[in-house]
Point group: C2
Chain length 477, copies 2
């Protein structure tokens, strides 16, 4: 993915065995619909943030099997030559719809749909899930952390603990969409325009005979923006006094200290006092030690004196829950232009899929523009705005609510039309700003870190009827 290499073969092997199966069964031209959705927000949160669409688009644009791929598959001795020929001439011709990046998303919603010949629509499962699961995970986690920081900038500092190179780069990208101010990762700046910053490691301080000399040299070289790491030996007895001495002597334009260990609530209060007493009220304090949304919330409540945060491993790995469980399920077939809804049954009611080709609407309050509910309908259904609209909980249908004074917005956009990309991915700054705006449409109750109010994601009566008819048909008596 970095540098647009061809990753067509980055797929679960079963996508290929199934493709060969469909090819040999004569199903090559069968049209199928697949939905991507997730069942549960990580960390027990009330919302997730869609991310990764740009990389998904790049992936779909670049799909093709190279001679090397064909040779590898031939070596497996289970594929026929006519199928390998088919792959050699493979061309992606599907339609794709998705929720744009930066949009808050909720469980069970079709956040992405692929329609097209079954071999193709099935084949792209693995990478679409991989890309969107990963970036949505990190964007969601970053958004929680940024909200905990209450307006103080949060930098993504996790490169060295990321799960490989793509996790570092696209994790930085997703964190930026979720609200981070920048990253430590230089290549994410070069390739994706995400501001990279960084100053010094403890080793810089160790390289010089004294902390004072290390700081002084740094301030001489970087007089415009001088952030000194003050915890190599002893923050309050050595690091901060040395920093104060250097700041007073060399007067850098912007000055700051960073603390990377110890009890940052205690240390920042003490350090702030020392800096202020030295007349350095404009000197900022950054902390960066195993932070996440819970610790940031707590140390701010304790009165820690912090101007910005660097968040590493717990952001870049989404440590508290490192899995975004997006799945990709068959929702319909098309025969002679007629859509035949398909369902996957499960013992667990939550795991039963929503069948059919669907439209996803978000209903907003006309007065305050808050999001009231999302409604899935069958494709082509419209939500009548004029006379009010009754929604009901699909898991408890007696729970009904009539919405008035709202407008409905189709949440999804088309990315591909018969294999041609018809979507221009917005600039990352635009995505980030869109995410910030959309987050403001959510109620505080949905935003709570723990035990949030469940946002309404309902089915239209028509879709509900179709679903229940299919469940009935599949019930074994």
């Amino acid at each position: 993915m970095i540098n647009n290499e061809n990753l067509t073969m980055l797929t679960d092997f079963y996508e290929i065995t199934m493709a060969n199966g469909y090819f040999q069964s004569g199903n090559v031209e069968d049209i199928a619909y697949f939905d991507m959705f997730f069942r549960k927000v990580p960390d027990g949160g009330g919302y997730a943030i869609m991310a990764g669409v740009e990389q998904a688009v790049e992936y779909l644009k670049s799909l093709h099997f190279t001679a090397e791929d064909i040779e590898f598959l031939r070596g497996k001795d289970i594929f026929c030559e006519s199928f390998l020929d088919y792959l050699r001439n493979f061309k992606f011709t599907c339609d794709v719809w998705a929720v744009p990046e930066g949009t808050p998303i909720f469980p069970h919603e079709p956040i992405l749909t692929v329609r097209g010949p079954v071999i193709q629509a099935q084949f792209v499962e693995t990478m679409l899930l991989l890309i969107i699961n990963h970036q949505s995970l990190i964007a969601t986690k970053a958004n929680r952390i940024v909200r905990a920081a209450k307006g103080r900038p949060v930098m993504e500092f996790g490169t060295r603990r990321a799960h490989g190179t793509a996790a570092a780069v696209f994790g930085a990208r997703a964190a930026y969409i979720g609200g981070c101010a920048g990253t430590a990762c230089a290549i994410a700046d070069r390739d994706y325009g995400i501001t990279a910053l960084g100053t010094m490691a403890h080793s810089w301080v160790q390289m010089f005979p004294s902390e004072y000399e290390a700081f002084k040299k740094y301030a001489e070289i970087y007089p415009d923006n001088c952030v000194l790491l003050v915890d190599t030996y002893n923050v309050l007895r050595s690091g901060v006094p040395a920093a104060i001495k250097v700041f007073k002597e060399l007067k850098p334009k912007k000055m700051g200290i960073r603390i990377d260990s110890g009890d940052v609530a205690y240390l920042t209060k003490k350090a702030r006092k020392m800096l202020d007493e030295a007349g350095l009220t404009e000197c900022s304090i950054t902390v960066s030690n195993s932070l996440d949304e819970y610790i940031i919330r707590d140390i701010i409540l304790e009165g820690a004196q912090i101007d910005s945060f660097g968040v590493g491993e717990r952001l870049i790995t989404a440590k508290s829950e490192p899995v975004f469980g997006g799945v990709y399920k068959l929702s319909a077939l098309e025969q002679d232009g007629v859509i035949i809804p398909k369902i996957k049954i499960s013992e667990n009611v939550e795991k039963i899929t929503n069948p059919g080709f669907k439209t996803l609407y978000r209903l907003f309050d006309r007065d305050n523009h808050k999001a009231l509910a999302d409604v899935m309908t069958l494709d082509g259904e419209e939500i009548p705005e004029v006379d009010g609209y009754e929604i009901f909980d699909p898991n408890a249908i007696w729970k009904k609510k009539r919405l008035c004074n709202f407008y409905a917005k189709n949440l999804r956009i088309q990315l591909f039309d018969k294999g041609t990309c018809v979507y221009e991915c917005p600039d990352i700054e635009e995505v980030k700003e869109y995410c910030r705006e959309q987050m403001e449409t959510l109620w505080d109750e949905t935003l709570r870190f723990e035990n949030p109010q469940t946002y309404y994601v309902d089915l239209s009566q028509n879709l509900w009827d179709v679903k229940n008819k299919l469940i009935e048909e599949h019930t074994i008596r």
Copy 2:
């Protein structure tokens, strides 16, 4: 990393600000030593598995700054032209030593050391940590899961939940080193020779009018190895009966069923009985539903009838603890050929670094070849094998133990000599086999999943003396 792209700029930005700092301070030729080590085994385990050395070697071989990199850095407006010239002609000339892949490793050990001009030795920090942290994390987790399976093959099935493309591919590689039998990820097979397998998704079953027809078609196409997914509708009432019918009719050479949901202990016992009663005793049962070492251990204890496991998200993200906390710290400087040990002090005793250029020995029992202890010494020290050797706990020096009848092995090998790679990375099969052998040198007490015995990692008396002298010098009174 996939396809050897140049990732020189995949680095924390501070590596570059520090490099410019050293350049401008006239420290370009100063020789520094950096150690990579970790402080804590994930999941409270007793050992970790070293992995990622091959990718680290590839990275170091390919280090160079392109014109695009230089242009990007120039745009930051903080670097002088002479420094950018230096980068343009940058050539890696360091020495590098590391523990080979597949070796069990323990906290505080220098698992990798870089010696060379400080700018270079510092610069490679981010990527070396990223690569080795990631792969060691997954190899360690995989090894726990494989041990829980008690000889049953474990396949890595996590591609769709991996944190980006590199996490999928190198996660599959690391899982293989840790003992997995293969992967679902096709590109990991094509590029790294890790056997990829895969059969069908639920959508295959949904595409046909009935489960029976779906299974029959699959068995016709794959008569040599036919594994049927039996939980699309109802495992015991629909899936297994349909599979039995197809197996009896078509008699595939190898046959198996896979269950991906529900209570697999209960379902596999029932399914085994049904298969056996149908005379299909050779039909294997695979399960693959949110597994990890704890669940696998427990369902085997419950008598689940399972022949192999597919393990996805909890392996590929190391879900229970997704961070391998390797760090990279300055341990020495060299001036006029004399090594000057350096230390990083911390309030937390565990966080104080081990100074100096060191050798890492593993001491094995001459009779049963079990690992007795690891000992770090200053470079050049030897461990006398003949008259016995007294080790002591560096955190409790009154705890002493005299070892006799052992042999000492230098655990590390040299990867680079003045920038030239002098190491040929072994084949992945060799690494996997080496890992399996080395795991047999550990005691059961160290292998326990929870609350294992802490393996001895001690310092030689000389190293201990150097460390304490430095602590004394840095103590602020």
